[in-house]
C-alpha cells in the first residue's frame, strides 16, 4: 500500500469514528429503545382477543414488513412536509427506524410470549395475580430470555440500516465516508474502512449478546 493510502486511512479514521459515535450508535440505540416499546405494545395488541385491536396490529406489522425501509424513511422525511409536517433529519430517522423495529420485533416478542407455557399463566393466577401482574412478573421475564437472540439480530441489522439515514442528511458514519470519498476520490479505501468500522461495532454487539444470554441462562434447565 502506498504512503498516500495509509495517510488517508489514518486521516479519515477519526472522522469516521466520530460519525459512528455521534451518529450511528446513538441513532441505533434511540431507535431500538423506542422500537422495543412499540413492539411490546404491538405484540400485546396482536395477542388481544378483541378482533379490531389485533387486526390493527396485524396491519401495522404487515405494512412495516412489506415495504422497504428506505421508502418508509423517505415518506417521513420527504413526504410528510407536503401535508405540513416538517421534521428534521434526526427525528425523521428515529421515527422511521423505531417504527420499523417495532414491526419486526413485535413478531419476535409475540412468539416469545406464546412460548412461555400456559401453566405459568395459571401459576400466576392461582396465587391471585391479575393478568397484567402475571404478564409483568412471570411471563415477560421468561419471554425476554427467549427473545434475546432474535432481538440481537434485529439490533445488529438496525445498526447497519442506519446508514440509510445518510440519504436524509443525518451525519452518521456512512455520510462521513461518502464525503471523504468524494473529496479524496479514493472510494475503495474509504468505503472498506467504513465497512470495517461497522463490522467492529457488530462484533462488539455479538459479544454483548453472548454475555447477556449467559446471564439470563442461569435459571434455565440444561
Amino acid at each position: 500500500m502506498s504512503q498516500d493510502t495509509w495517510d488517508l486511512l489514518l486521516q479519515s479514521f477519526l472522522p469516521l469514528v466520530e460519525g459512528a459515535i455521534r451518529g450511528t450508535i446513538p441513532l441505533a440505540l434511540a431507535s431500538f429503545a423506542l422500537g422495543i416499546v412499540i413492539a411490546l405494545g404491538v405484540a400485546l395488541m396482536r395477542l388481544s382477543k378483541v378482533r379490531v385491536v389485533s387486526g390493527i396490529a396485524r396491519i401495522y406489522v404487515s405494512i412495516i414488513r412489506g415495504t422497504p425501509l428506505l421508502v418508509q424513511l423517505f415518506v417521513i422525511f420527504y413526504g410528510l412536509p407536503s401535508i405540513g409536517l416538517l421534521l428534521d433529519p434526526w427525528p425523521s430517522a428515529i421515527i422511521a427506524f423505531s417504527l420499523n423495529v417495532g414491526g419486526y420485533a413485535a413478531e419476535v416478542i409475540r412468539a416469545a410470549i406464546l412460548s412461555v407455557p400456559k401453566g405459568q399463566w395459571e401459576a400466576g393466577h392461582t396465587i391471585g395475580m391479575s393478568r397484567l401482574q402475571t404478564l409483568r412478573r412471570v411471563i415477560l421475564p421468561q419471554a425476554a430470555r427467549v427473545s434475546v437472540p432474535p432481538l440481537s439480530n434485529t439490533f445488529i441489522s438496525l445498526v447497519k440500516d442506519t446508514s440509510l439515514a445518510s440519504l436524509i442528511l443525518v451525519s452518521e458514519l456512512f455520510r462521513q465516508a461518502e464525503e471523504i470519498a468524494a473529496f479524496s476520490q479514493k472510494f475503495m479505501v474509504v468505503y472498506i474502512e467504513a465497512a470495517l468500522i461497522y463490522w467492529l461495532i457488530c462484533l462488539v454487539l455479538s459479544a454483548g449478546q453472548s454475555v447477556l444470554e449467559k446471564k439470563l441462562d442461569r435459571y434455565v434447565a440444561h
Partner: protein
C-alpha cells in the same frame, strides 16, 4: 402465637368463631356444567366440602375431575352451576359472572399443579413469597419468615436460594405445595400432584399431603393413588362421564362400591 397466625396451621375465616372440623361447610358446588367445544365435560356436578375435610376426586381420565378442580380456582369458567364459598356471595355461572367475581374465587383456594408450574426465573424462596408479597401485600420480612417456616417443615429450607431447575421433581412439588400454603387459603386444591413424579419420589410428596390433612387443612385432591386416597380422604367422589357416580367415605366407595361403573373402574385399576 395464636392459631390463625401460625403459617403451619390452616387459617380460620376472619370474624367467625373457630368451629370443630367437619361441621362448617367451606364450599358448596351445585349443578356445575362445562363444555369444551362440542364435548360436554361436566354434565352436572354437585360437591360439598366441610372445614377440615379431605375430598378425593377419582375416576377415569376424561371424567372431568381436573375440570372441576380448575373451575373452583377460576382457571376454567363453567357455563352453568353455582360455586359458593362460605363467607362470599355464591357465584352463578349461568348469569356470566364478572371478572372480579371470578378472581374472588382465588381468595379462597390455591392450586398445586401436576406439572408444578414453579416460576423458573425465581428462587425457591421468591416463588413462595411472590403471592403473599405481590398480591396480599404482606411485608417482605414477615412473608419470608413464614415461607422459611413452611420450607423447613417440608425439608427444603436449605434449598431456599436454589432455582427450580436445580431441584428434583419431588422437591419442586413440595415447593409447589408451600407456595400454595403461603397464601393461607381456606381450601387447597391438588391436581394429580404426584402424576409427573418418578415413582421413588411420590412418597415424600404424599407424606407432606398426609401431614397437612392431619393438621386440619381442607383440601380437594384429584388423584390416581387410590391407596393414598383411602388413607387420607374423608370423602371419595367417583366421577365418570361428567357426573358424580358415587360418593361417600372411602370405606364405602373404595371398599364396597354400590355402582357398577365404580366397581369396573376399581377392578381395572386393581387388576393391573
Amino acid at each position: 402465637m395464636s392459631r390463625t397466625d401460625d403459617p403451619l396451621q390452616p387459617p380460620t375465616p376472619a370474624g367467625r368463631a373457630i368451629t370443630e372440623p367437619g361441621d362448617a361447610t367451606v364450599l358448596e358446588v351445585r349443578a356445575l356444567q362445562k363444555s369444551f367445544g362440542p364435548t360436554q365435560v361436566l354434565r352436572s356436578i354437585d360437591l360439598t366440602v366441610r372445614r377440615g375435610q379431605v375430598v378425593a376426586l377419582i375416576g377415569p381420565s376424561g371424567s372431568g375431575k381436573t375440570t372441576v378442580l380448575r373451575s373452583l380456582n377460576g382457571l376454567e369458567v363453567p357455563e352453568a352451576g353455582i360455586v359458593h364459598f362460605a363467607g362470599s356471595d355464591a357465584i352463578d355461572f349461568a348469569s356470566s359472572p364478572s371478572r372480579r367475581e371470578l378472581l374472588g374465587l382465588r381468595d379462597h383456594s390455591a392450586m398445586v399443579f401436576q406439572q408444578f408450574n414453579l416460576f423458573p426465573h425465581r428462587t425457591v424462596l421468591q416463588n413462595v413469597i411472590e403471592g403473599p408479597v405481590q398480591v396480599q401485600k404482606r411485608p417482605v420480612a414477615e412473608a419470608t419468615a413464614d415461607a422459611l417456616a413452611l420450607l423447613e417443615r417440608v425439608g427444603l429450607a436449605d434449598k431456599r436460594h436454589a432455582y427450580p431447575f436445580e431441584l428434583s421433581g419431588g422437591q419442586q412439588q413440595r415447593v409447589g405445595i408451600v407456595r400454595a400454603l403461603a397464601l393461607k387459603p381456606e381450601l387447597l386444591l391438588f391436581d394429580e400432584p404426584t402424576s409427573s413424579l418418578d415413582p421413588e419420589l411420590v412418597g415424600d410428596v404424599l407424606e407432606v399431603i398426609r401431614e397437612l390433612a392431619s393438621e386440619g387443612w381442607t383440601m380437594v385432591l384429584v388423584t390416581h393413588e387410590l391407596q393414598f386416597a383411602s388413607h387420607v380422604a374423608d370423602n371419595v367422589v367417583f366421577m365418570d362421564g361428567g357426573v358424580v357416580v358415587e360418593s361417600g367415605p372411602p370405606s364405602e366407595v373404595l371398599v364396597n362400591p354400590k355402582n357398577d361403573r365404580t366397581k369396573q373402574f376399581l377392578h381395572r385399576l386393581l387388576d393391573r
